[in-house]
Amino acid sequence: MRDALLRSASVVALLLLWEVCARAHLVSDFLLPSFSVSLARLYHDIVAGDALLGIGLTLYRAFTGFALAAVGGVAIGILIARVPLMRWFLDPLVSVGLPMPKIAFLPIFVLWFGVFDEAKILMVAFSAIFPVIVAAAAAADGVDRTLLWSAQSLGAGRQALLWQIVLRAALPQIFTGLQVAMPIALIVAIIAEMQMGGEGLGGAIMQSMRFADSPGVFAGILAIAVVGAALVRGLEVLRRRLLVWHPEGER
Amino acid sequence: MASSGISFREVSHTYRPPRGQPVLALDRVSLEVEDGEFVALLGPSGCGKSTLLYLLGGFLPVESGSIAVAGKPVVAPGPDRGIVFQNFALYPWKTVKNNILYGLNKRPLPRAVRQERARELIELVHLTGFEDSYPAQLSGGMKQRVAIARTLATDPAILLMDEPFGALDAQTRALMHEELLAIIGRSPKTVVFVTHDVREAVYLADRVAVMSARPGRIKEIVDTRFGGDKTAVTTTPEFAETVEHLWRLVRDEAILAQGGRVG
């Protein structure tokens, strides 16, 4: 509790600093509109404009891509861990793919899927799937052998084994992979929108920038900051709920 | 070399954890250590013996009471009080030679002299041939020998040792006892040695100060200077009696520390 208070206090302090610097006109209003101006602008865009629609669209793309990456990533990861042929074939692909700047593939996705939602969602999925695969494979690999053996001696079949034991035991690590993938999904969705245009947070910010509308740009940044923080926090809460049984200890 | 008598006067120390209540670790400890003496601080876990050592070393601030070395109060760590830790505290990114040179490099000596001194120290602790090894490649006993050599490099008048052989197995520990005595024999130092091992304390030290359970006080000081051959001393009845006596003292304090009653 005390930590949370300290954390919010330091953020508030920084926002105050922003406001003070902007009001003192340390730099021009164009370069740094004050926090209050940006916040007011965001509020205005939400209430009177269609900012919520834009935010919703960005979230829709990020989430859909993330969901694809999550399901696909876990499936592929577990496949790699349990099927030797798949491991041989996919392991180098994944280990080469992981450090590649996958954002460079954006024009390829545009070529293949056009400039609308499909391209953005698939781009997100492509970028986010790698950390999920790595986490799922490592998790499935690391499942305690004694867990598996005791289940087998109790008569569990292969399918049951997979679902009940492997998935459950691997859940903490898989979830960590998902927590890494979520911010990636958001970043890629935003970059894709910035590049390809269309409604959405990314597109809106670029539009504001083109019109030299700096309060609009900063309003957009605020929106992204809030959305990003909310997503990270949401995943943390979800983790604690799902993994109640896991002795991860208190934070 | 200046006289290096150590004087603890009414030293108290309160441990303040980041969360929770402050705890009195030491309660008005007074002790005089003569120049060249080997004193062991003996006591159960948590009795504050290490804390007393760290205060003497200058790593913790002396808030209550006073600690003086050769008449001057202790305010900060310094090369006059070399320290050896239980977990060796070697710099893992430096080779054996560079670990030892680290202390030497602080002194205004010409390079050739420093290199030579390092070589001497390596030889002193029987590690010739391992100059370029990294700590990760050494055994526990070897690591502790490097730690001792590194501390000796600054030629301290006082040697502070915090359960230095606690992490070693019994055979290595016995060997290290002999090495330590040989080293001190060659260049006498004042030694303050913290341990919870009664036999070790009685064997190595001139005097043993037994400390009580927390808050630490000096319970009793026993003279453990036995005449005659050091190697045969462990079989004498005097030795056994002293060990028995000290062991009982420590045991009572250990029981108290665990919250039990002394029977």
Partner: protein
């Protein structure tokens, strides 16, 4: 040697597939040109100098932004861990930047620095800063106190101990943070080159794509991906060498 070949054989398989599929008509050769055509385009780009020009621009901006990020990040993280006032001052900044996707700040960089190299360098800098700060901070915090005490007892001043003990002891975490920063800096470089244009591999890729030269576009993507992968591998080797004292 044989083990390495066996391990990376699937990549050759993929390459073969890439060549075969468009040629056999399994996929439209327009959307996925065969590997040989891409290779030819790559040679063409090298020959007419566009690879060198844009590659050099990207490399320069990446190095500048990353170098700055590492230097500032390490200094910040270490001093934050060592001096409490530093931590109090900079902590809120780190807390706010952490969940914010740094690529979202690219438009702000454009506002501040215009459409040029400065904005790209600033974007790369922002991306690489935080992982290094966190690595340095956590690494410094995790140093065993007895290591520092040993140094103090040898006569080292508190200030000198930061350089002589804390920095080397924190190296494993700092180097891990730099590895992260390396990956992020590639992403931010390409993204900023997409958005800012003018020069650079990202610009080249989108320029070729818009011009319909898909062979060239794929060639560009291939180059960038390979460089990203190689950079990571090379860095791992460097890291292994620097940390060779570990068990």
């Amino acid at each position: 040697m044989r083990a390495v070949a066996l391990r990376y054989a699937p990549l050759l398989l993929l390459a073969a597939l890439w060549e075969a599929a468009p040629r056999l008509g399994l996929v439209d050769a327009e959307t996925l040109p065969p590997l040989s055509a891409v290779a030819r385009a790559l040679v063409g780009l090298a020959a007419d100098g566009s690879l060198a020009l844009n590659g050099w621009s990207s490399l320069r901006n990446l190095a500048a932004g990353l170098g700055l990020g590492i230097a500032v990040g390490a200094a910040l993280g270490l001093t934050m861990a060592w001096y409490r006032p530093m931590e109090i001052v900079f902590n809120p900044l780190v807390r706010i930047l952490y969940p914010l996707p740094r690529s979202a700040l690219i438009p702000v960089m454009i506002l501040w620095f215009g459409l040029g190299a400065k904005s790209k360098i600033a974007a790369v800098f922002l991306g690489s800063l935080l992982p290094v700060v966190l690595g340095a901070f956590n690494g410094a915090r995790g140093v065993e106190p007895v290591l520092i005490w040993s140094a103090l007892a040898a006569g080292t001043s508190r200030r000198a101990a930061l350089w002589e003990v804390v920095l080397p002891a924190a190296m494993p975490e700092i180097l891990a943070g730099i590895r992260n920063a390396l990956a992020l800096s590639f992403i931010l470089l390409v993204a900023s080159e997409f958005l800012i244009g003018q020069r650079g591999m990202g610009y080249l890729i989108s320029f070729l794509g818009e011009g319909g030269n898909y062979d060239g576009m794929f060639a560009g993507v291939l180059v960038v991906s390979l460089v990203g992968f190689l950079a990571d591998r090379l860095y791992l080797g460097l890291m292994g060498w620097a940390l060779r004292w570990r068990e």
